[in-house]
Every structure is written in C-alpha cells, then in structure tokens.
Symmetry: C2
Subunit: 247 residues, 2 copies
C-alpha cells in the first residue's frame, strides 16, 4: 500500500542519519518528491540479485537484510539493517544490475527513493554528494571489518565481537542490551551455522563468566566484560577507553 510521507516528521526523526545529515528542508523535499512508503511483510523480497537498481531503500521501521546467493543457492546476509539505515546506496552507482538482494526479516515500513532523485540531488547539492562519498567510504570500511572478521577470527571471537559492537551501539550507561535480530539471522551474518552460534554463546557465558544471555537479553557483569574481543578499530568508539585503559 504505497503512500506519501510527511516531510517534517521525517526530517525531525532522521536528520542525523548518514544519508541526510546537514541537508536543509528544501533538499530533503526534493529528494523525497517522488518517493513512496511501502509496507513489507516478513520474508518479502524487495529486490533480487540481478534486478535493475531503481531505488534506494530507507528503513522507516522494521528490519531488512542485504543478501548474496552462492552457487548451490545458499543465501548469506551481508548487512543487517534496522530503522534509519538504508541500502542499495552503493548499487545505484555501480552501473550494472544489482549484485545483492534485499529482503525483509520482519514486518517493515520502507521508504523507496528513486535512484534518479538521488542522482539529481547529488549533482545539485555538494552537501549531499559529500554525504554519499562519506557513506560509501564508511560502508567500504565496514565491509573490510567484515572481511577480516571472517578471515582472521574463529567463531567464538566473531560472536564476541558482535556482542561487543551491539553493546557499544547501545546506551553504554547500562550493562544490558537486547539482540536486535533473530539468532539464525545473526549466525548467517557471522558466517556460521545456528548450531555453532548457539554453542559459542554458551561457551562465552560459561568460560568467560562475564556475560549472561537469556533469549535475546544480554547482561554483562561489568562494562569491561567484552573487552577481550575488542580490536584497534573498535577501541575508538568505546567510552571506557580512557578510564579503564583497555589497550
């Protein structure tokens, strides 16, 4: 059920996202002129690998994954996306069919911004094209982290690192947080089977004695519980860095 969007509410909620940062109302209006809000149900495929990339997807609510399919049809999750994040950002500029698929992993509300609008605004507004370059650079960095995660680390470290980043992405003034995605989804994202993910969670709880997990609820015994999963890149976003000297 496509519908129009209220610009002011939208700006108020999302003006700090990477895509929209520093844009003025006129610019956002131009960007959204031809955009539509669509409702998607769990499991719905918004775009398949090989489709034409006609629009950028901005998540107003719910969760999406970007996927790639292997030779035997296995599907892996490249990025897990929640509210305020977007995808197809880079694909729009690739000048070829989409190398990724996009799928809803929960009932979601998605804003579709036509690629044409993106390209038009990027030529008119240096602020926006600056946002784009920085956003692409950021995703590129993220995917490098993902590469060395999968290449260097064993399953336990990958799980620990995921927990750490989930913790740091939250409030950090509490030692409690909630996994935002289903465990099978996270396992896939981390490049392991659900069974392995489960075993690693258990091992982290029993061996390290510093974390307890019930369902999606994760509790740290203290804010340094996950420090040994940290790395140089992540250290910089950790509030404990200074006081505790984690290096």
């Amino acid at each position: 059920m496509p519908q129009k969007i209220n610009i002011n509410t939208f700006i108020e909620e999302f003006n700090q996202t990477r895509l929209l940062r520093h844009l003025n109302t006129a610019e956002v209006t131009l960007l959204l002129e031809k955009s539509l809000v669509v409702d998607v149900v769990e499991g719905e495929q918004l775009i398949h690998e090989g489709d034409e990339a006609t629009s950028l997807f901005f998540i107003l609510d719910g969760a999406l994954v970007t996927t790639r399919t292997g030779i035997q049809g296995e599907e892996i999750f490249i990025r897990l996306l929640g509210r305020g994040e977007c995808c197809m950002d880079a694909v729009i500029f690739m000048e070829e069919k989409s190398p990724i698929g996009v799928k809803a992993i929960g009932h979601s509300s998605v804003l579709k911004i036509p690629s044409k609008s993106i390209k038009i605004l990027s030529e008119k507004s240096t602020t926006f094209s600056n946002n784009l370059v920085k956003m692409l650079a950021h995703f590129y960095k993220e995917s490098m982290l993902q590469i060395d995660n999968v290449t260097i680390k064993d399953s336990k470290s990958r799980v620990g690192y995921y927990l750490l980043r989930a913790y740091l992405a939250g409030e950090q003034n509490t030692n409690h947080f909630v996994l935002k995605f289903k465990k099978t989804v996270i396992a896939n994202y981390l490049g392991m089977k659900p069974e392995t993910f489960s075993r690693m969670l258990k091992e982290i709880q029993t061996k390290d004695h510093a974390v307890t997990i019930h369902g999606a609820e994760v509790t740290l015994t203290d804010s340094n519980s996950l420090c040994h999963f940290c790395d140089a890149t992540t250290k910089n976003v950790c509030l404990n860095k200074v006081d505790k000297g984690c290096g």
Copy 2:
C-alpha cells in the same frame, strides 16, 4: 628518491583507469601538481594501520597490497594491486585514521597524490567526483564478492574462482595466462594457508582435468575449463557467455 612526473606520458598511459577516466589535461595537471613519485623496495611499508591518511597511492609500476592486522598480529591481504590501480582511495574520505596498511610486495614505483589535491579537485570537477563515487561503489562491490567468497565457498571453489577471474581479466583470446602475484600472497588474499592453496591447485588440475599449472603459468584445455567456478556476477564479464550458454 622522490621525483616529479611527466604529465603527458602519464595521461597517455593511465587515462583509462577508474580514477582518471574522462579527466582533461588541466584537471590531471591540477591533481598532480603536488604529487611525487617514490621508489619502494619489496616489503616496504608505505603506511601502517592507524596512520594518518595523507595521500592516495597510484601504482606506476610494481605491486602493492592493502593489509589488515588481526589480534594475534597475523596480517591479511585485502586487495592485491598492480600497475594502474590505486589505494587509500576510500580511506581519504573516512575522517579517521587509516584502518588499513599498505605494503609493497615487489619493487615498485608509486605516485603519491596528496589527499588535499584529491579533495580540491573533487569540489571543482563533477567529472572527478563522479569518478570517485563510482570507484568507491566498485570497491564496495568487490569487497562484497570477497565476503561471500570467504563465507560461502570452500577453498577449492575460491581458488577456482580466483583463476577464473584472473583468466577473464586477461586477453580471453588465448587459453593461457600468468598469475600476477606470488602464490603465498594469493593464498593469504583468499583466506587460506599456502599449503591449502597448493593442494587445491593440484586438485583442480587432477580432478577437473581441464587446467594445467606450472609455476605461475596457467593453461586451460579450453576456454570453458573454469566455467563451473563462475557465478551470476562474473558471468556478465565473460565473452563466452552468449555462444556457450554457460548459465
């Protein structure tokens, strides 16, 4: 021994590279004004993880790798770069210390273009900023391929896929090509040990009977030898696609 560069020769040789495509002489001149050519020996580190990203490296000759370091100090290779390619492209726009290192894996000649020159030109020339966005999008795609390679495929498929891409990157009118990097380097890039790489090469030769490898020389018995390692993304750059119906 830093030295200046001859603009005309440079343009003639490299005007088809992703970074410089469609640029006119004035733009290239502006870009190179403050640039320097440096000679680096094998193993020399041009930049370390965590250093400030002050310039982009454009490879005039030789070979570089971009690296990341794991917790136990293992070094993995993210990209293998030859003549006409560049690195630190994305890092310049990340607004933080470099998450990657850059190292010469052979005696090389490298053009260092100050990030400031890049930023200045990208504001003056929409052609150039367009190049940047496309280049970033391209690298992002490449790193996605790398992620699902490591996540989905087993060692043998990864090696086969690497061979396939090396073949397609070459002339394609001959069934013979040469590995451009040392086998230990390729193994690292593919996320496996040199021993495993060696075994997989052997297996591909014996089991598939369609490829023979001596040292760095690879010969296919026919142009379809590596087809079973192909995937949807790669199919599009294969010249055999139409006639042979590889899908």
